[in-house]
Point group: C2
Chain length 318, copies 2
């Protein structure tokens, strides 16, 4: 029996989200103007001879998976559009235009749908983004699918693939505690992402959506490197401080929507001194890129170094 045959009858739950996406990405056609397709925070396509590159990203937000009954409609809208803005920020880009597919049961109150639009419109307005498309369809549960197009200087998008051994790892804001509410009212780090790209501080970047451990592994895989994280340096969210599992939760909670990025070692100190002049958001040095391909280690204050097997959130429960 061939390997292909052996997979017949397998479900999404059997294989897991990332393995399925890896397979689907092999099936799709590309074009010469696609600089980066499926597999980073956003796709990058080139325009014209001198135009900027466009960034294209989509995110689904589904009741019972990404939010629960306690979420206010404005928060649902904020999170739905904010996730796409965070993707654009992680490429060092600027969001411009958004379209929305809203799915809802017929019995949904119009006020709920209007509340969702108020939430997403408020965030769009804050970053001068136009909501140019809106479709509405009937379905079994409330869902908001947001599609955002952004731009970035030609050839200058910051991908996951630029990390080199010796580079210093930084993360914005605080980690962990998304379940205590942050995942519904985070601020996408658009200004920070633009700043990090414009002066070429960040040479690899991702936004933390599935937990620091998982998202850092994406950088390690794309760049062919490893990393050492200093446990004591992690900017643990206030809600977690003093908790026995604060460090593992900061590594795996997910939906922090902070930027995780690397900077050349010669420029790391300059970044640390200039950052506070531009931003109130924290920016913390948390570790270093190593040549140990695919290896993620946690370094204790004692100097003890242990392989980090922690995994973040993945759909379909794997």
């Amino acid at each position: 029996m061939s390997a292909v045959m052996a997979d017949e009858g397998k479900t999404l739950g059997d294989l897991g989200e990332r393995e399925v996406i890896r397979r689907l990405a092999k099936l799709v056609p590309s074009r010469d103007d696609v600089a980066l397709g499926i597999g980073d925070d956003a796709a990058v396509v080139t325009t014209g001879r001198h135009g900027p590159d466009l960034l294209i990203t989509t995110d689904p937000l589904i009741a019972g998976i990404h939010f629960d009954a306690a979420a206010r409609p404005q928060q649902i809208g904020h999170k739905a559009i904010g996730r796409t803005f965070s993707d654009i920020a992680a490429m060092g880009g600027e969001p411009l235009w958004t379209a929305v597919n809203l799915v809802a049961p017929a019995a949904t109150g119009v006020a709920v749908v209007e509340g969702i639009y108020e939430g997403l419109s408020a965030l769009a307005d804050r970053y001068d983004v136009a909501v140019v498309g809106g479709d509405l369809a009937e379905g079994p549960v409330l869902e908001v699918h947001v599609f955002t197009v952004g731009q970035v200087g030609r050839g200058s998008a910051v991908t996951r693939a630029g990390a080199r051994p010796g580079d210093v790892l930084f993360v914005t804001g605080e980690l962990g505690g998304s379940r205590s509410g942050k995942h519904l009212d985070f601020e996408p780090r658009i200004a920070e992402g633009l700043w990090l790209r414009e002066a070429e501080w960040a040479t690899a970047m991702i936004d933390v959506t599935d937990g620091l451990a998982t998202d850092l592994r994406h950088i390690l895989e794309a760049s062919g490197v490893g990393a050492d994280i200093e446990w004591a340096s992690l900017p643990v969210a206030r809600a977690l401080q003093g908790e026995a599992d604060a460090v593992p939760r900061a590594m795996t909670d997910g939906e922090d929507f902070e930027l995780l990025f690397v900077v050349h070692p010669d420029r790391a100190a300059a970044l640390e001194s200039l950052w506070p002049e531009s931003f109130e958001t924290r920016c913390t040095r948390i570790g270093v890129i190593t040549a140990e391909k695919g290896e993620l280690f946690g370094v204790h204050e004692s100097g003890a170094r242990a392989s980090c097997g922690a995994r973040g959130f993945e759909h379909f429960g794997r």
Copy 2:
């Protein structure tokens, strides 16, 4: 009690899809570079000083609403992406890049999801469109949300608003019978839409998704005009010929994905003579635009003229 108060507690089912979208469209922010926002087949945004305009459109495809258990995965993928291509075609544009959000229960077979991607990839490949984004999320039913970006010459997108009294109404292909399978394997009229726009034949255009009667009304509303349709001229689908309700079904079945457009009366005969040199697809003169704002009449072979109240498909059952 104010009008606003009176609406409190109303559901999507109470108001219907189009009224809700009308309300939502008032809540969203715009930008100076948005030439056309929510309300046409696709949004139009301008780029740079000399670049082409971009077209942005989204369509949801939901199990139980847009397809049923008899649909093959390849057909689901074809329809999901084809709907967005049809939107781009109706603006006279060319699709370039697509992103897909796929929602499915964890028990869905990987082969189903791969089949959907095969179907959408085949159509994308035929029109040289790149699939640049693909997200996958868990949800209660199978759904495919497709977002497509296309382009059109600067300022040249064909909207719904350009119809003038005296213009001749045309429709491509055949109407009705979508339920007998056409809605799953239609060909988006991309080449036809490009041709109609490039030589400025079409001055208003829409694709027939909710039934000719409903979609024609969108042109009438946007253009501030009326229309007379010659019943006998309608290109009724072969599957309906001889049926007693063939004409009403051709007017209202929906999901024909044909182009409905108007041409200046001085050029209508030239269009009819040139069309067959370029296309095998039929193109049929079906009526004329009138100055009777918002009025849609059917004209019988006897010359009898009757107001046409027929409505096409609308979500949430109104």
